[in-house]
């Protein structure tokens, strides 16, 4: 193999920006291969809308109209548990299915960076679907005013969209070697539904609140609710950022460890 010189020279041999854009492009192509736009609009989006509608109406049934508003604000974030936390597992699963991980770990860019770039469509599409979800469900359940009040807070939902994706990628990367990615990512989604304060108000069950503190969504939703009530919300948003960074670090560590094991043991099946 011909040497390209120093590490710096190797890095600049192919412009970093081009490499990153190629990774992003691959991510989008992968996303739409697994989720064609027609399918996103005909199956994924309706599921999101129906899930939010279900939790909103259920809130009203269980605890009255006050809970309906609470459940609507939370239900929008809970919808991301499925689209982001569960579906982003496609990124490592695709490499496992098609035995392409060796090409990623032997490339110039760190595998974790490649995975993060390929996961980029999930928070973006998730946020787009969430906006559609809010626009459709809000008026349908008689909460158009609340929907409009939520519009300026879309940035907080974008943050939640990123943190749920990071948690999903970390969970999938940690569990794929044991063929447990479906179980673990779905478990994560249900833990988010249970512990994030999206439906069940905080303060009811201690251990559920404690668990929620390290899961995505909880602090972000607390920030949304604080902003709606006119209270300071930046602290909770900061905590959501920290939780998201924690999950990203975990994902990076899991992917890096996997690449290292694969080099050492000479296989790429994640086992």
């Amino acid at each position: 193999m011909t040497s390209l010189g120093s590490p710096v020279a190797r890095l600049v041999a192919v412009p970093a920006l081009w490499r990153f854009s190629e990774m992003l492009r691959l991510g989008w192509r992968e996303y739409f291969a697994a989720n064609p736009p027609a399918l996103v609009l005909s199956a994924t989006a309706p599921r999101l809308v129906l899930q939010t509608l279900f939790f909103t109406v259920l809130g009203s049934v269980v605890a009255g109209p006050g809970q309906r508003q609470f459940a609507f604000v939370g239900g929008l974030a809970l919808a991301l548990a499925g689209t982001n936390a569960v579906n982003v597992s496609n990124v490592p699963v695709t490499d496992k299915c098609y035995a392409t991980f060796w090409r990623i770990r032997s490339g110039r860019v760190r595998p974790a960076v490649v995975f993060f770039a390929r996961a980029a469509p999930y928070p973006l599409i998730g946020l787009g679907l969430l906006v559609l979800d809010a626009a459709l469900v809000g008026p349908l359940v008689g909460l158009p005013g609340l929907t409009l009040r939520l519009a300026p807070l879309v940035g907080l939902y974008a943050l939640i969209s990123v943190t749920t994706t990071a948690a999903g990628l970390a969970s999938a990367s940690l569990s794929i070697g044991r063929h447990a990615d479906i179980l673990v990512t779905n478990l994560l989604a249900y833990l988010i539904i249970l512990c994030s304060g999206g439906f069940l108000p905080p303060g009811r069950v201690g251990w559920i609140d404690d668990l929620g503190k390290v899961l995505p969504v909880s602090h972000g939703l607390a920030a949304v609710r604080a902003a709606l009530a006119g209270r300071p919300w930046a602290g909770q948003a900061g905590l959501e950022v920290l939780v998201g960074l924690g999950w990203m670090l975990l994902a990076a560590a899991a992917i890096t460890a996997q690449a290292s094991r694969a080099r050492r043991l000479g296989h790429d099946d994640y086992s």
Binding site: N35, L39, S42, A43, T44, P46, R47, L50, Q51, L53, F54, V57, L58, G59, S60, V61, V62, A63, Q67, G82, A180, I182, L183, N186, L187, Y190, I193, L194, F199, L200, P201, R204, V205, I208
Partner: protein, 260 residues
């Protein structure tokens, strides 16, 4: 082809056991049979402080709601999985009727899921210290039997639908929530707009839920159970006709294992 009873029962039993063995390692059983009902029960019972009657109502609704999602994901996926494994053609072209294979597999999946759901909900109710109003055992057995047969029929219906598309997994998740909302289970008929209140009448699980809800209120009415049984028969007829049509179409196109 008319089958004699003994070989037919053998086919059903073998299909049932094969499906149950396959399901032992399935993560979807853990999620649909254990995680989802526990989460639904916790969030609905802890959001408000329900009375014992209301807890019984909630438990019935959660069990049947989870049964529906398990039906879609597991019983509804039996033929899709056969196609993925490349064994669909053998299932539907053997000397035994494909109807028996589908019935056995769907029954096996439904019974497995029901056992998981009932176990997880029982443990949760005991852990929460909630008090339930229980039916007399004979009626409970009848109601559980009707529920199992109804879930089986629904699973067969959904399984035939998934023969028509390669995106069965995504459609599975899209199919779950319409019944969650309009099925008359966790969201009662009275919470629906007036023009939609006829829809729960078409869902057998809703009638079973009504039977349990009546029983929780101290009334035993067999009419809802009879209606649920009648609807279950209708589901079987539609499912078997759909299976025959799907297989005929696939044979004509020569696309049994690649039918999308």
């Amino acid at each position: 082809m008319r089958e004699s009873l003994r070989p037919a029962l053998w086919v059903v039993w073998t299909s049932l056991r094969t499906e149950q063995r396959h399901m032992r390692g399935s993560p979807l059983v853990v999620i649909g049979g254990a995680v989802q009902p526990v989460v639904f029960l916790l969030i609905t019972s802890k959001t408000a402080n329900p009375t014992p009657d209301r807890v019984t109502w909630l438990v019935s609704a959660v069990v049947l709601t989870s049964l529906w999602s398990s039906t879609v994901w597991l019983a509804g996926g039996v033929l899709r999985r056969e196609r993925t494994f490349g064994t669909l053609a053998r299932c539907v072209t053997s000397v035994h009727s494909a109807r028996l294979v589908l019935f056995g597999k769907s029954l096996g999946a439904t019974m497995f899921c029901m056992a998981a759901i009932l176990a997880s909900v029982t443990v949760t109710v005991l852990a929460l210290g909630e008090r339930l109003r229980l039916l007399n055992p004979a009626l409970l057995v009848v109601a559980v039997g009707v529920t199992a047969l109804s879930g089986t029929a629904l699973g067969m219906l959904v399984a035939c639908l998934f023969l028509l598309t390669r995106h069965g997994l995504i459609w599975s998740s899209a199919l779950v929530y319409p019944v969650f909302i309009l099925g008359g289970l966790l969201i009662p008929r009275t919470a629906l707009p007036f023009s939609l209140r006829w829809i729960p009448d078409l869902v057998s699980l809703q009638w079973i839920h009504e039977f349990f809800a009546d029983a929780a209120a101290g009334r035993v009415s067999l009419a809802p159970l009879a209606i649920a049984a009648g609807l279950t028969v209708c589901y079987y007829v539609v499912a078997l006709k759909s299976l025959d049509r799907a297989i005929d179409a696939a044979r004509r196109k020569g696309s049994l294992d690649l039918a999308w």
